[in-house]
């Protein structure tokens, strides 16, 4: 039996530049299997989403220039659609695609996903690049959208010791 990582272990979320977000995670499966799970609608429907959000539309035309479209439905029937086109398809190693959320054309992102297999395990690194830092930070505005602002990197360290406490703020250092 294949050794599996503990649940949720090893997810890396980082902001390597002003306009990018990176998500990295290793999976206990071959690169071919993981690539399929990221590109076949019948498989994507089985895992993509959380917190009561799931895919109700998943269309993929996996070739350069081919379109993709996802619609997720969440709690209370809320729906969020996004899609774009594949720019590079190098199965099972690398995917580059554009991504636009419905009604937010100026937020078009370029998403690069790299699948790297080592000892039967596959590291998946997803880099999302936005046109500007403001747009990247704007992605923080929807619970379904991806976002991680530089402001947060700074604030997280700044506030870690100050705000995490449950006591009301009293304007003094702990």
């Amino acid at each position: 039996m294949t050794a599996r990582p503990p649940p949720g272990a090893g997810l890396v979320v980082a902001a390597p530049s002003d306009t990018e977000i990176v998500l990295a995670r290793t999976f206990a499966a071959s690169r071919r299997t993981v690539f399929d799970a990221f590109t076949r609608p019948d498989l994507l429907r089985q895992w993509h989403g959380a917190r009561g959000w799931h895919l109700v539309v998943c269309e993929i035309d996996l070739r350069p220039g081919g379109a993709w479209r996802f619609v997720s439905r969440g709690p209370g029937g809320a729906e969020l659609g996004h899609g774009g086109a594949y720019i590079e398809v190098d199965a099972p190693a690398r995917l580059v695609q554009s991504e636009i959320y419905d009604g937010w054309d100026e937020g078009e992102a370029r998403v690069t996903t790299v699948f790297d297999e080592r000892d039967g395990r596959t590291a998946v690194t997803t880099t999302v690049r936005y046109p500007t830092r403001e747009i990247r930070d704007g992605m923080l505005r929807s619970p379904m959208r991806r976002g991680l602002g530089e402001a947060f990197d700074r604030l997280d360290s700044l506030l870690h010791h100050h705000v995490r406490s449950t006591a009301p703020w009293k304007g003094h250092r702990p």
Binding site: L11, R25, A29, V34, W47, A50, D137, L158
Partner: protein, 111 residues
């Protein structure tokens, strides 16, 4: 979570001077004059930033008519940090489902 409040929080945090003001206020309350001192900026300039921070609920002003000291309001920041944790947890949950799917696919393929 109220996304319009989050919008205001993120917009307020997008400016380096406002982040510096918040950083100063983590050390305790301060007057506009005290806040303006480290920045090459007039008191009206700082007041403008403070109004943005006040509208975002990040800063409140004391009642003392003379000094009107500014203090940090932690709640919106805590909400924003909670959201960041949300983002991470969202993908952790999604990827855990993928772990389960991959295990089933491996069994099916007999590998």
């Amino acid at each position: 979570m109220d996304t319009s409040t989050l919008d205001a929080t993120f917009a307020a945090l997008a400016d380096p001077t406002r982040r510096a003001i918040l950083a100063r206020l983590t050390e305790g309350e301060a007057t506009v004059g005290e806040l303006a001192a480290p920045f090459a900026m007039s008191q009206p300039g700082v007041s403008k930033h403070l109004r943005v921070l006040e509208r975002a609920g990040l800063v409140s002003r004391g009642r003392d008519a003379q000094r009107r000291p500014c203090r940090l309001e932690a709640r919106p920041l805590r909400d924003a940090l909670d959201w960041l944790a949300d983002f991470r947890e969202y993908w952790e949950e999604s990827y855990r489902r993928l772990d389960d799917l991959l295990a089933r696919l491996d069994e099916r393929d007999g590998s």
